[in-house]
Amino acid sequence: MNAPPALALHQVHVRYGEVTALDGVDLELAPGRVTGLIGMNGSGKSTLMRTAMGMQRPDRGTVRLAGHDPARARSRGLAGYVPQSEAVDWDFPISVREVVMMGRYGHQGPLRRPSRADRAAVDEALDRVELADIAERQIGRLSGGQRKRAFVARGIAQDASLLLLDEPFAGVDKRSEATLVRLLRELAADGRTVLVSTHDLHALPQLADDAVLLLRRVLYHGPVAGALEPAVLARAFGLDPTAEVPA
């Protein structure tokens, strides 16, 4: 395993004015794994994702994606991002297919005229997430789970090797959640790296290989079972900040 980590954060600090959002985060994600990012509201989950995508510049520390600096990784389309539901305008007059095609823009010329290869990639991605038969629908006319899959399809069409999903299970019913979990596991089996922020601890064992517990810094990074130990959870959720993690 000489491949560089899909995502590597080293001593990342992010501050918004007086508020410290990330306080020395060290994190390395190996390729081909699904990692659950766990923490309470305000623990820095979204900030960590935004920093990994380069939307937030760290005050200190370094970010590397597959060994590249973030700007280079972005222009190569290495990282795909599935935004939180609240961050999307679901009334926007755009079809599912058009959303997925946006994943191809980085592969296209300045006018973004789709080639045959682009169309094929979009069709394939739509098949993969099982939305091919409703591809012409306006994006807001999908159920919560279908919406998430549409954005995952965009990441597939983009051929991103790292996929970041911010709270994908919020407002998604159990059956759609199971479909989404299966899809993410398949993508990891292909060798992609998947980072999912969630506070749905019950789904974690089915979803993820590893868990990261975050409270402005990484409190735990390892197998899911270890993260679900009560003493470990208590630290991340601030019930007892002085509790020691059992060795």
Partner: protein, 294 residues
């Protein structure tokens, strides 16, 4: 019937026997089309107020350009983008919300424009910039407006997919290595230039109507952005024609009538359109609103 047909034809042809009316008609249609294209993005991003701000803020730029003999477009772009930067600066203090920041900056710049106009001796009445002077458009004005409009329309259409991505999901634009900042600036630059085109037609005060209404009307008629880019300019052009011809026969404000036509069309679509008030009531009265899911 034949008599009526000839009557309708005369209604259109009679005004066109005058050169100034032809120029007015062409200019208004051109301005309406480029405003309508831009409006599709503005209404989706939620930049209506920004359109209002920039269209007012260009006034001192245009007056200063007149004073020093520079092209109006240059003054407009400098002040349009300057206003946006100022708004960002005021909002960035954290104590003033965005709508207040916009309100403060654009009214102050507009006031500066008014003061400059009042102290500037001029051949042409600069007051025309405020209310438009479509019937006084010269051949040179027409040429300038045509060139600017063509330039803006070409850039908007060439970059339409990137601009739509920016409007829909700037985070993804960033994720694939595009610059949301640059795309936003492109849109604002186009906005400033469009204001120059349109303010000679309807004036600074009514420009914002032409920058919002056609896009909003088109949005009511379709769920496809690509179709909005057709519906908005076509409807705006028809309203422009109706407004100019109406102003000839009614001897009323041409800019006012153009905007009034756009507003009436919007109201019509809002009530009678496929997603309009009446249609919603029919659906609710029938078997209820069908939830859209697979």
């Amino acid at each position: 019937m034949i008599g009526l047909d000839i009557g309708l034809l005369d209604l259109v042809l009679e005004p066109l026997r005058y050169d100034f009316m032809v120029r007015a008609l062409v200019t208004t249609v051109v301005a309406a089309i480029v405003c309508a294209l831009l409006s599709c993005w503005l209404v989706l991003i939620g930049w209506s107020l920004m359109g209002d701000a920039v269209s007012h803020a260009v006034l001192p730029g245009v007056v200063l350009a007149y004073i020093v003999g520079a092209p109006f477009a240059l003054g407009a772009v400098v002040f349009g983008l300057g206003a946006v930067a100022l708004i960002g600066l005021v909002r960035g203090t954290g104590r003033v919300k965005e709508d207040a920041a916009i309100g403060i900056v654009f009214t102050t710049l507009f006031a500066l424009g008014l003061v400059l106009i009042s102290v500037t001796p001029s051949q042409t009445d600069l007051g025309h910039i405020i209310f438009g002077n479509i019937l006084g458009i010269s051949r040179g004005d027409l040429l300038q407006i045509g060139v600017l409009a063509a330039l803006v329309a070409a850039v908007l259409l060439a970059k339409r997919r990137d601009l739509t991505l920016y409007a829909f999901d700037p985070a993804h634009a960033h994720a694939i290595g595009l610059s949301p900042r640059r795309l936003g600036a492109l849109l604002l630059g186009a906005l400033a230039l469009t204001c120059v085109v349109a303010l000679q037609v309807v004036g600074v005060i009514l420009v914002v109507a032409m920058l919002i209404i056609p896009g909003a009307t088109a949005r009511l008629l379709t769920d496809r952005f690509s179709r909005m880019l057709v519906i908005a300019p076509v409807s705006a052009a028809l309203c422009a024609i109706a407004g100019i011809l109406g102003s000839f026969w009614l001897d009323a404000s041409s800019g006012g009538l153009v905007v009034l036509a756009q507003g009436l069309l919007f109201a019509l679509v809002l009530v009678l359109g496929p997603r309009g008030v009446l249609a919603a009531r029919r659906r609710a009265g029938g078997d209820g609103i069908v939830p859209a899911r697979a």
